[in-house]
């Protein structure tokens, strides 16, 4: 028999790494794909620099569709895609795909909201200066929305940590999964408590960090 203490940390450490692994990869993938998608949602709006009703609808539709599906169901739903992309549908790698897919559309809407905060007059000033569309996106839209985008990524990471807890469904692991399996099914309150404390501490720290960073870049 192991002592309770060593047993506990032997479970917590690998679970923590699984969470960090899943969340960080999903954050990078989601940001790299979600922000551009958000840009498309903004610039194709009516009256914006690349107004295009059709494209806006086409992009907006799956975004709303995916957001409407409860995440556990979504994980099962995309198993075929997960297999193609990572070769497995279980474990941390099996979770990253549904996590990222669901989060991309979430991020796209967050980024869209952040970029809609940029007054259109500022974009018109850039147009009057002779800027082309690429320059407007890179030199006006994204930097002007910078602070809001930092907050969006913060919300994204926190949400990803929460959603990764549902990874247990496909044996994904991680702290949230550990808390559910041991704390709930096996009556190990100590495991559950440690997981909850670590998670809430990390989430709070990330939130504070993100907000501080956003404040630093907010010049408005």
């Amino acid at each position: 028999m192991f002592s309770t203490g060593s047993n506990l940390w032997l479970m917590i450490w690998p679970a923590s790494w699984e969470t960090i692994y899943m969340v960080s990869i999903a954050t990078v993938v989601t940001t790299l794909l979600g922000v551009p998608l958000g840009v498309v949602l903004v610039v194709t709006r009516q009256g914006h620099i690349m107004a295009n009703k059709l494209v806006n609808r086409l992009v907006g539709l799956p975004v709303n569709f995916i957001r409407a599906i409860p995440f556990p169901i979504f994980i099962l739903f995309v198993i075929p895609i997960t297999r193609v992309l990572t070769g497995t549908s279980i474990g941390p790698n099996g979770v990253i795909v549904p996590l990222s897919l669901a989060a991309i559309v979430f991020m796209a809407r967050l980024a869209e909201t952040a970029m809609l905060e940029v007054p259109y007059g500022v974009i018109e000033a850039a147009i009057s200066a002779g800027a082309n569309r690429r320059q407007i996106i890179w030199h006006v839209l994204l930097p002007e929305a910078g602070s809001g985008l930092i907050l969006s990524v913060t919300i994204l990471v926190v949400t990803l940590i929460g959603y990764s807890a549902m990874a247990g469904l496909v044996g994904g692991g991680g702290l949230g999964d550990l808390a559910v399996r041991y704390g709930y099914y096996r009556y190990r309150a100590d495991v559950m408590w440690v997981c909850v404390i670590i998670l809430s501490f990390v989430v709070q720290a990330l939130q504070n960090f993100g907000e501080a960073l956003a404040r630093k870049y907010n010049r408005r």
């Binding site: 007059g121 500022v122 000033a125 002779g130």
Partner: protein, 342 residues
């Protein structure tokens, strides 16, 4: 041919039954080196007009010819180059909040692909010109409205344009700051040989710095000409209403209980005739008694003129002849209570 020729310009917003005709056939010509003012009530189409000049708005029909080239026929790429020859400033400044003052001014030059060294040098020059050299590192949020507009002007001038477009550039500023921004526009115009098109609700902006003015109403230019002429001899109702701000046409003598007994007559003395003893001449020649209710001097672009309000009593025929006589001396005479006297 002016530097800017607007020919038969129309602009509809929307299509079909919901279409709004913002411009309904505007013809205008702006000469190189002048400050051209456009005035009109809200919704008259002023912003639409100025935004057609750099094609922030695409006209529905008509032509905008700038420096001999038709903007309405240009491709996107040609247009971007053409826009570098036109700076624009805005009512709400529209500065990039994430960039410092210096980087805001640098923006149009970065867009144009100029070298870093070039840009730095030019930015300092421009900030000196607008009197903000000490604010180079500040962010727009740390500036006052007047300072923000100075940054806007520096940014608009970055690529050495020939034309400066101002859409209500002083409407968000207090009267004193308005004065200083107008002074700046006038001085950069003189220094750099710019041509300025400016839009405003504010009569004082026109009388302060404009050479010529167009009055717009409901998508049309209803009157245009040199500011002094339009102001002293307005023909259209809208012009008259605007000009009241500068030259009070209202009969406010009633305010102190005065009831005019004869013809309430406003006389504008423009320039030299002000020196002639017109009133005594009128008394000598006609059987009338002018009671002077009001008299003052006003200025349009530094040019003084006198305004006098008279109550002209006497036989109606004599009064009429006295008015005719004053008109023959090239005074602008208007009878304000013509109704009673037929």
């Amino acid at each position: 041919m002016g530097l800017i020729d607007i020919i038969g310009l129309t602009k509809n917003y929307g299509e079909g039954a919901k279409a709004v005709a913002a411009l309904r056939g505007v013809d205008l010509s702006v000469e190189a080196g002048e400050i051209y003012g456009v005035i009109g009530l809200s919704g008259a189409g002023k912003s639409t007009l100025i935004r057609c000049l750099n094609r922030l708005e695409t006209p529905t029909s008509g032509q905008v010819i700038v420096d001999g080239r038709d903007l309405t026929a240009m491709s996107e790429a040609e247009l971007r180059l053409a826009r570098r020859d036109m700076g624009m400033i805005f009512q709400h400044f529209n500065l990039l909040s994430s960039r410092t003052v210096a980087d805001n001014v640098a923006f149009p030059m970065e867009i144009a692909g100029r070298s870093k060294v070039d840009i730095m040098k030019r930015v300092m020059e421009l900030l000196d010109l607008v009197g903000l050299a000490d604010k180079a590192g500040a962010y727009p949020a740390q500036l006052s409205g007047g300072q923000k507009q100075r940054v806007g002007i520096a940014r608009a001038l970055a690529n050495s344009p020939k034309i400066l477009l101002c859409d209500e550039a002083t409407s968000a500023l207090d009267p004193q700051t308005t004065q200083s921004i107008l002074g700046l526009i006038q001085s950069v115009k003189d220094h750099l040989g710019l041509t300025v098109v400016l839009i405003t609700h504010d009569m004082r902006v026109i009388t302060e710095i404009c050479d010529r003015v167009a009055v717009m109403e409901d998508g049309l230019v209803v009157e245009q000409g040199p500011v002094f002429d339009v102001f002293t001899r307005p023909r259209h109702q809208v012009s008259k209403a605007f000009i009241e701000v500068v030259i009070s046409r209202k009969d406010d003598s009633g305010a102190w209980g005065y009831v005019p007994r004869g013809l309430l007559t406003q006389v504008l003395f423009l320039g030299p005739s002000a020196e002639d003893p017109v009133i005594s001449e009128v008394v000598r020649r006609f059987e009338v008694k002018p009671n002077v209710l009001q008299g003052r001097i006003s200025h349009i672009k530094g040019r003084p003129f006198g305004i006098m309000l008279l109550d002209l009593t006497g036989a109606p025929e004599d009064c009429r002849r006295a008015v005719e006589y004053m008109r023959s001396l090239n005074l602008v005479v208007e009878v304000l209570n013509d109704v009673q006297h037929g």
